[in-house]
């Protein structure tokens, strides 16, 4: 049996469709002219501050955490929708795309299995990647153009990527896609406008639009959080059915841990731009190790009438600090209640950033309670 890893390293095998290594995304803050003259340093919002993970073919990886933890920024940088500061996003393209890539100069293959660094591809050659990596957006009310019919919305990706040579061919593709997301009969929906559909139906259109180009990897950013609870399960079931049918891989961004437990294979819990815990979704949520994950799980309400009789104090203090001035050492230490009980750790926690150590096979935690300093 191999030894447990001291610091997490993403897997880079032929089964790894995507890996992210030490990703940093900083957004610079504006400096006033006086700040420049006084020579004040440029400040950054450290939205993502050193994140590594891998996504295996056919799995659902959940990125979870509170708002502002960097989960959406991480998702967007996979699609190159936001410029990254540093780090590597290695993607394993389809065979067809690999052949195409061989003719492009300056593309560096990262691994022997053919991962390429998405950020090394010049913009003009990036288009075929956009067909393979797609996004499902959160807000079905904001992400569909109100002036276009459903047909036009679904035709646009085909148009851009030159899929289907004739009108009839495209019509068939669109009709099939609408059937796949269970909007039947498709003719009834094609010529409607988004406002004529319910929230759930609109989200099906958003899913159809993401899947119509036959992607391999789909980043879903809170795909059901805007929907009523009673129909969420229906959309999730649809997403899971399509995943099986089309052989998709999902990166599922969510703040809802209970939901992640149902659909994700693995989960990465993020706090202030870093992954604090990574592992099998059920195990992480049912027996969390990191003090932050513990607090997060405690905080989730459950439909249990007994809960009204007790007031359970949360094992967390204070509020999320600003991502501009990230606390030194472990970025969770100012809010950590375990640190209060274990003052001997203070030196370590306040000064040194904890590594993401493997504590059980496949289970990683970034906390000095579980790691020995090297």
């Amino acid at each position: 049996m191999a030894e447990l890893q001291y610091t997490y390293e993403p897997q880079k095998t032929s089964e790894t469709i995507l890996y992210v290594e030490n990703l940093k995304v900083y957004f610079p803050l504006r400096r006033s002219i006086m700040d420049v003259l006084r020579g004040r340093p440029r400040l950054n919002v450290k939205a993502v501050d050193g994140v590594s993970f891998d996504v295996r073919k056919g799995e659902v990886l959940a990125l979870a955490g509170e708002s502002g933890c960097g989960k959406t920024t991480t998702g967007k940088s996979i699609l190159r929708l936001t410029p990254i500061t540093s780090g590597v996003i290695g993607y394993l393209p389809s065979k067809k795309l690999i052949e195409e890539l061989n003719s492009i100069p300056g593309v560096n293959k990262l691994t022997q299995d053919g991962h390429v660094d998405l950020n090394s591809i010049p913009e003009k050659f990036f288009k075929p990647f956009r067909a393979e990596i797609q996004m499902i957006w959160q807000d079905p009310f904001g992400s569909l153009n109100p002036r276009r019919t459903i047909y036009e919305i679904l035709e646009e990706p085909l148009d851009i990527h030159n899929v289907g040579s004739t009108r009839e061919e495209r019509y068939d593709l669109i009709a099939k896609m609408l059937e796949a997301v269970k909007l039947t009969p498709p003719e009834d929906f094609m010529y409607r406008y988004p406002h004529m559909l319910s929230g759930g139906q609109r989200q099906r259109i958003v899913i159809a639009r993401a899947l119509i180009l036959n992607p391999t990897l789909v980043v879903a950013d809170e795909p059901v959080s805007m929907l009523d609870v009673s129909i969420r399960a229906e959309i999730l079931q649809l997403m899971m059915d399509l995943k099986k049918k089309l052989g998709l891989t999902y990166v599922f961004i969510t703040h809802d841990l209970a939901l992640a437990r149902y659909i994700a294979n693995r989960i990465a819990i993020m706090y202030l731009g870093k992954i604090v815990e990574l592992g099998d979704a059920r195990r992480v949520i049912e027996t969390p190790f990191h003090p932050y994950t513990k607090a997060l799980v405690e905080a989730i309400p459950e439909p249990d009438p007994e809960r009204r009789h007790v007031i359970k104090e949360l094992p967390i203090k204070g509020e999320v600090p600003s991502p501009v001035n990230v606390p030194s050492g472990c970025r969770f230490h100012p809010r950590c209640v375990v640190l209060d009980q274990r003052p001997e750790l203070a030196e370590l926690c306040t000064k040194k950033e904890p590594p993401l150590v493997e504590v059980e096979r496949g289970r990683y935690v970034a906390c000095w309670l579980y790691a020995k300093p090297k």
């Binding site: 009523d228 009673s230 399960a233 703040h255 049912e286």
Partner: protein, 319 residues
């Protein structure tokens, strides 16, 4: 010991829009005892917020309360004149924590000013007295009283929510209506706010009506739960009745669709279809078009059955 605080009978609030009459609240009955808390749950558009606005008589135009009775401490408040209601009932008797409360604060006044305004208007306090009282209120909701001089933008979302709660409690009303008090807040902050509401309920003995789409959140505080669907109450009972022994197919559907944190992972269920258009609701039981048990009978208005003591269901299955 159970003293009746609020009694709503046959309440109907309609919106007279250009496209027709929207029956947002269409015949709602419930009662609430002193110190008790009630959760009102339902999907978006089921009329739960309109019900809240009706109780505090703030239904926005073109909406109107067209029928029914709202008795608060034994008086029908719908008979009062607007001025009388404003002076004596709204905020003194019934106050409200508004939805999206974080944006309910005025950005150009300090929070101290905004809290004291209530006392200056309703209690004729001087500005100085009112500020002192505002400090006490802030302390009560867990904010450093020195923060009275802060502007809303200087506070985090959770703190703004606490300020709005402090404002609702300013006149120590016996009943507070909280309309989705934690939307847009993260789970950790949400749990802290719920803990605060629970503490205030226990310490001050106030009644709370919590309105939310989230049945899990309602379980945190509610003694009684009303499930609303299409402007009517589908099921009403003690928390134990609703969560452990749900009878209405809609309640069962809602509970089946909530992912749980613990226990075995069973397939989540969902309710097919969409909520009814309240300007043209289906005849009879409004849930019938989405109900898997629907039969001929459901074309007629379902009777309200008391299935066990204090547990009411509006469904033909039990008639």
């Amino acid at each position: 010991m159970s003293e009746k605080l609020l009694e709503v009978r046959g309440l109907k609030t309609y919106f007279y829009t250009l496209k027709g009459v929207v029956k947002a609240v269409d015949g709602v009955d419930f009662e609430l005892n002193k110190g008790e808390s009630l959760g009102i749950a339902g999907e978006s558009g089921c009329g739960k917020s309109t019900l809240a606005f009706s109780i505090i008589r703030l239904v926005p135009a073109p909406g109107r309360i067209v029928d029914g009775q709202i008795s608060f401490m034994g008086k029908n408040v719908l008979d009062l004149s607007e001025e009388d209601f404003r002076r004596n009932v709204r905020w003194k008797g019934i106050s409200m924590i508004f939805q999206g409360a974080m944006n309910a604060l005025n950005p150009v006044y300090t929070i101290g000013d905004q809290i004291s305004e209530i006392m200056i208007i309703h209690r004729n306090y001087t500005k100085k007295e009112a500020l002192e009282e505002a400090k006490k209120l802030l302390e009560m909701v867990g904010i450093d009283p020195r923060r009275v001089k802060s502007y809303p933008h200087e506070l985090s979302g959770g703190m703004k929510q606490r300020v709005v709660i402090a404002m609702a409690l300013a006149l120590r009303p016996p009943l507070v209506i909280a309309d989705e008090p934690t939307t847009a807040l993260d789970v950790v902050v949400q749990a802290q706010i719920m803990n605060l509401l629970k503490k205030l309920k226990n310490e001050l003995g106030i009644s709370i009506i919590l309105i939310s789409h989230d049945l899990s959140l309602i379980a945190e505080i509610a003694d009684k739960v009303a499930i609303m669907y299409g402007g009517k109450i589908a099921e009403l009972g003690l928390s134990e009745h609703i969560y452990l022994n749900p009878k209405h197919p809609y309640t069962q559907g809602l509970l089946g669709s909530i992912p749980r944190l613990k226990g075995e992972i069973r397939d989540l269920t969902w309710i097919p279809g969409v909520p009814p258009d309240l300007s043209n609701p289906p005849p009879g039981c409004r849930f019938a078009p989405r109900c898997k048990y629907a039969s001929e009978k459901c074309n007629r208005e379902p009777p309200v059955i008391e299935i066990e003591r204090g547990h009411y269901v509006a469904c033909w299955l039990y008639a």
